[in-house]
Homo-oligomer: 182 residues x 2
């Protein structure tokens, strides 16, 4: 079995909720877990094929007039067990995240203080944009999904994003202060 690749479980988890096509899976990811998880078609379609090979899902083809066939994937009982099995396991490694801004800050001495501050200001702006998006998603969830049994868990992933981004913005502000007093 693969060492790091969690695409299989990502797809199984979505199929637990309802049968989906590859295209719908991509769209669903885009509107729900995008802020901490992404999958490209280059991963999704081959993985769906694997799921069928391993009998964790079944396909049935829906013919639609004037459009390409829809290949709808449905999770099997085996698939459900495999998914729950993964879900119950504690996570092993927390991989580090390469952060280019921090790399530049680490080498900050080779620029002027002003240049460093400018860099951090631009980073803060990006963080504020991300926070906006998260807040919009939160409003959407509250207004449209608050009766969904998954609601609380979806909100937890959102509030994680908000916490981290807010902490990052605070760090930007503190850092700008520190550099300004140099």
């Amino acid at each position: 079995m693969s060492r790091e690749n969690k695409t299989m479980y990502t797809l199984l988890g979505l199929l637990m909720y309802s049968p989906l096509t590859g295209y719908e899976i991509k769209r669903t990811i885009e509107s729900s877990i995008k802020h901490f998880w992404q999958e490209s078609y280059g991963q999704i379609y081959p993985t769906l094929k694997k799921l069928v090979d391993q009998e964790l899902a079944v396909v049935h083809i829906e013919k639609v007039e004037g459009k390409p066939d829809r290949k709808v994937y449905t999770i099997t009982e085996q698939g459900r067990q495999e998914f729950i099995n993964w879900l119950e396991k504690p996570i092993e490694k927390i991989p580090i995240h390469k952060n280019e801004l921090l790399l530049k800050v680490f080498y900050g001495q080779y620029l002027t203080v002003e240049q460093n501050i400018e860099q951090i200001i631009q980073y803060r702006q990006k963080m504020e944009d991300i926070l906006q998006t998260l807040n919009t998603t939160e409003q959407f969830l509250i207004s449209r999904k608050k009766d969904d049994p998954h609601f609380d868990y979806w909100m937890l992933t959102l509030s994680h994003g908000q916490s981290i981004v807010k902490a990052t913005i605070q760090w930007c502000e503190d850092s700008i202060d520190i550099l300004s007093n140099k």
Copy 2:
């Protein structure tokens, strides 16, 4: 030129400080930027070769009795310019970080509340371990490097790590509370 690979600039940045061998570069990374940046030998050695090819660095071989030759790399004037050039550019994309814990939380409805809490408790423990390491590094920096001209910038990268980890621990505690009241 490559689209995403920043290994070249990472190495140039270290060589700006002093000439180093591939082995020393690896060790230096381990003790300074490890918490937000990693490079493996499989990246370092081929990249050093490229730096020499592009005349951004030069090698000279030091023969040591009883040990393999040391290949010491020194940055060239061209290399310094290339490095500063990269350093001045604002960062473009902020890639999202795949977070397996959040993926599991997102699918939390398929487990019991207790199982989710347990998962988050274990995650918090890992975060506390990371915080410990960061604090130790901070003490080391303060006691041994506080007169280094890079000190303030090194501290900024450390405090970034501390902020994010603390925010994550806080999120864990809040989430455990929310789930306990379900």
